[in-house]
Amino acid sequence: MKENDLVVPDRQIAWAFLSSCGRLLGEGGILGLLLPSKSVLHNRSQKARAARQQLMGTTPISTVIDLSVLRSSTFATAKAPAVVLIAHNRPAASGHDTDPDLLHVVPRNSPLQRLLDGFVVAQDDIHRVPAGRAAASSEMWQILLWGDLQDHSLISSLKSKFPPLSQIAKSRGWLYSRGFQVKGGCENDAEHLLGMRLVPAEAIEAFRVIDDATERFDHAVLHRPRSEKLFEAPVLLIRRGIRQGRPVAWLSTQDVTFNDSVIGLSGPQEDIDHLRIVSGIVHSSLAQYFHFLTSSSWGAERNYIELGEHFSLPVPALGSDSQPSVLEVVKAIESFGLTSELQDQLDSCVFEAYGLLPEDVDRVTDMVNVTIDHFRRGENSVGVAEPSRKVLDEYRECLIRGIETVFPSTEIEVVFALTPDFYIVASCQVTPPGHSQAGSYSSGTRTADSSSGIGGVLLQAVEHQDQAWSATSTVLQPSLLVLEGDRAHVVKPRETRFWTKTRARSDAGDVMAALAGRGRVSHASS
C-alpha cells in the first residue's frame, strides 16, 4: 500500500483489500463486491474522499447498486447499509468511451416491492453518471440516493453562488461547536458552567424549546467542556438529530448549556437578528432539501446531520436586500408560533433570498413533500400512492409549458390513459406550426393514430425490455418514452413520485430531445 501511495481511511482492512481488487482484475474480467455503503460512498472525511477518488481512478467500476434505502430489509440483522459495486475491465479495443458513464441503481421500497418480496428498481432510479463527476463530487452518491443529476446541479450551483455558513460565522467572529461531552476519558474543569440552565436536545423543536423545566448543569468535570463563549446568549441551538423529517433549532436569548447532541452557534448581541435569519434558513424547505441530499447520515443510515454538514449550508451574505423579509417572518413565528401559513411565507422569502427559479422551487418542494415523505413513511408514503387528478393536471401543465417554452409555435396536447398493471401513460402530441393535429401528415410507415399504434408500440417496447432483462430476483419498473409519429407516450408506474412537476420538466426535455432524434433511441418498432 505504501509503495503505491494508497490511502486507507480509518485503517480499515476492507479498504486496503478493495484498493487492490481493481489492480488484480484481468482484461475482460468482472468483479462484484458487497460493501458497507457509508464508508464506500457517503463518508466525507478527507481520507474517505481521497480513497473514493483513488478507487474510481484504479478500478473500472461500471455499476453501483446502493441498497441504503432497503437497509432494514435486505440484511435485517446488519447495522450498516450495503452497496454492491460491479467492476468490468473491458478490453482496450472494445470501442467504448474512455470516460464512460457509470450506472447508479437504487432499489426502493414500495407496495410492489412488498408484494414481490424482491428488489424493485424503477427505471427512473437508474442514473447514468459521468465518471468525471462521480470522482470529483464527494456528495454525488448521497444526492443520487434520493435525487438525480439535476439535484446535483442545483446543489453545485448553490455552492458556487453562496459561501458556506461556516465562512459567514468565521467572518463575523461567531463560535460554533457541538455542546459539551461528558464521557471520553478526560477530566477537564467545567465549574464555569455549574448552575446554568441545561437544555436537553429532545426539548428542541422548530423555533422553540418545549421543556420549561429548570434543570441545571451539575458536572464539575467533563471530557470536553468547550469554550465558555459557546454557551453565551444569543446562541442558536441546532438539534443534531432530525425532528419530524427536518432540522430544527431554537434561538436562546439567555445563557444556556447543552450537550453534544446539540450544535451551538453563538454570536454577539448586536448580531441577534442575523442569527434569527440563520434560524429561518435552517428551518426552510431549502435547508431541508440541501441536508437531506448531502448529509452522509440522514437518508442513508441515521437521522442526524453532522456539525460540518450543517455549516456547509450555502447562505446568502447576511444583510442583503432580500433578507429583511426572512427576519420579519422569523419574528412573527417567535411571536405567534409556527403555522403552515408562516412556514410557506418563510419558504417563499428564503427562495427569493437565494434567487431560485420556479423550476428549482418545484424541485425543492417535491423533494420535501414527496421524496422525504417516501423516506420517512416507506410504502405508506404519498410518494408511492396513486397520483391524484390534481397531481396529474399539474404534471400535464408543466410538461406542456416545458415544451412550449422552447417551441412556442407548436400545438401540444397531453392526454392520460390508465393501463392495467400499475402504469399510467401520458400521450403527448406535438404539432409544428402549419400542420393540423391528429395525424394529418404522414409518419412514413404508419399514421399517427394512438388507438391503433400505442398498443403495438408499447408491446414491442416491453418485449424488447424483457429480452434485455434477465434478472430473476429483481423486477424492473419500466419508465418508458415510446415514440409514435408525432406523439411521445410517457409510460411510468402509477405512483405519485413519478408524476411530480419536477418529473414533468425532466420529461419535457426528454420528449423534445427524443422527438428531435437526439439522445439514445432504440428503434424497436421501426
Partner: protein, 221 residues
C-alpha cells in the same frame, strides 16, 4: 455495464417532418447558449483570475448559468461542470482553480441528450494549436468524447497571437493528423453579430458516424 445498462428508455419512431422541425430548434439552443455566455463574458471584459484554462472555463460556465437563469429559452438546457466544484470566490475570479483538474463543460437536455464542450488555451507557441487538435478535436473524432453524440463544441481561449494565425496553425495540424486530414479543417461560420471567431468542422469517425464540432475562439488577450 451490468444488466441495468442493457435496458433502454426510449423506443419507437418519429415523423420525419416533426423530427426535422424540432431538431432545428434543439440544435440551435446549445450553440446559442455557448455564444451568449461568451458574449456576456466578453462584455464584462473577460474578467478571470488568470489565463489558466480552468479559470477561464469557470467563467464561461458562470455566464452560461447566468444566461440560463435570465432567459427562459434555455431553462431546459442544463450546464454542468465536470471535475470541479467552483466556489463563490472562483466565480468572482478572486480564487484560482489551478489546483483542480481541468474541467470540461457538459450541456444536457433531459436525461439522454448531451453535448460535451472541450476547452483549450490557444497561442502559437507552446505547441497549443497542436494540443487543440491532438488532445481536443481528436477525442471527438475518435469517439473518446460523445461516442453516441452527433455534435460537440470546443472553446479556445486566445491568450496571445491573432485568431487568424491560430486557426491557420490548427488547420495545418488537422490536415497532417492521421485520423483527420484534408476536409476536416475548421471553416469560418458566417459572421454573427455577437461573436466573430466561430468555426465549424465536420468529421467522419471510424465508426462511420458523422460528428460536427462548433468552435468558439474567445480572444481574451
Amino acid at each position: 455495464m451490468s444488466v441495468f445498462g442493457t435496458v433502454n428508455r426510449v423506443y419507437g419512431y418519429v415523423d420525419p417532418v416533426l423530427e426535422q422541425y424540432l431538431a432545428g430548434g434543439i440544435d440551435r439552443l446549445v450553440p446559442d447558449l455557448i455564444e451568449r455566455a461568451l458574449v456576456k463574458w466578453r462584455d464584462g471584459g473577460f474578467v478571470r483570475f488568470d489565463d489558466y484554462e480552468a479559470n477561464c472555463t469557470i467563467q464561461v460556465f458562470r455566464w452560461m448559468v447566468a444566461e440560463r437563469e435570465t432567459n427562459p429559452d434555455f431553462h431546459c438546457v442544463h450546464p454542468r461542470l465536470e471535475w470541479v466544484q467552483p466556489t463563490p470566490e472562483m466565480f468572482a475570479a478572486k480564487e484560482s482553480a489551478s489546483h483542480m483538474r481541468r474541467p470540461d463543460i457538459r450541456l444536457t437536455i433531459g436525461d439522454s441528450a448531451a453535448w460535451t464542450v472541450e476547452c483549450k488555451r490557444l497561442k502559437l507557441s507552446d505547441n497549443l494549436p497542436r494540443l487543440y487538435v491532438d488532445e481536443g478535436l481528436e477525442r471527438f473524432v475518435s469517439g473518446s468524447y460523445g461516442a453516441s453524440e452527433a455534435t460537440g463544441a470546443m472553446i479556445g481561449y486566445i491568450i496571445d497571437d491573432s485568431p487568424r494565425q491560430i486557426v491557420k496553425a490548427i488547420n495545418r495540424r488537422v490536415v497532417e493528423h492521421a485520423v483527420m486530414g484534408a476536409g476536416h479543417e475548421l471553416k469560418r461560420r458566417a459572421r454573427t453579430k455577437r461573436l466573430l471567431n466561430r468555426y465549424v468542422s465536420q468529421h467522419r469517425r471510424s465508426s462511420h458516424r458523422k460528428i460536427e464540432i462548433e468552435h468558439y475562439h474567445a480572444d481574451v488577450r
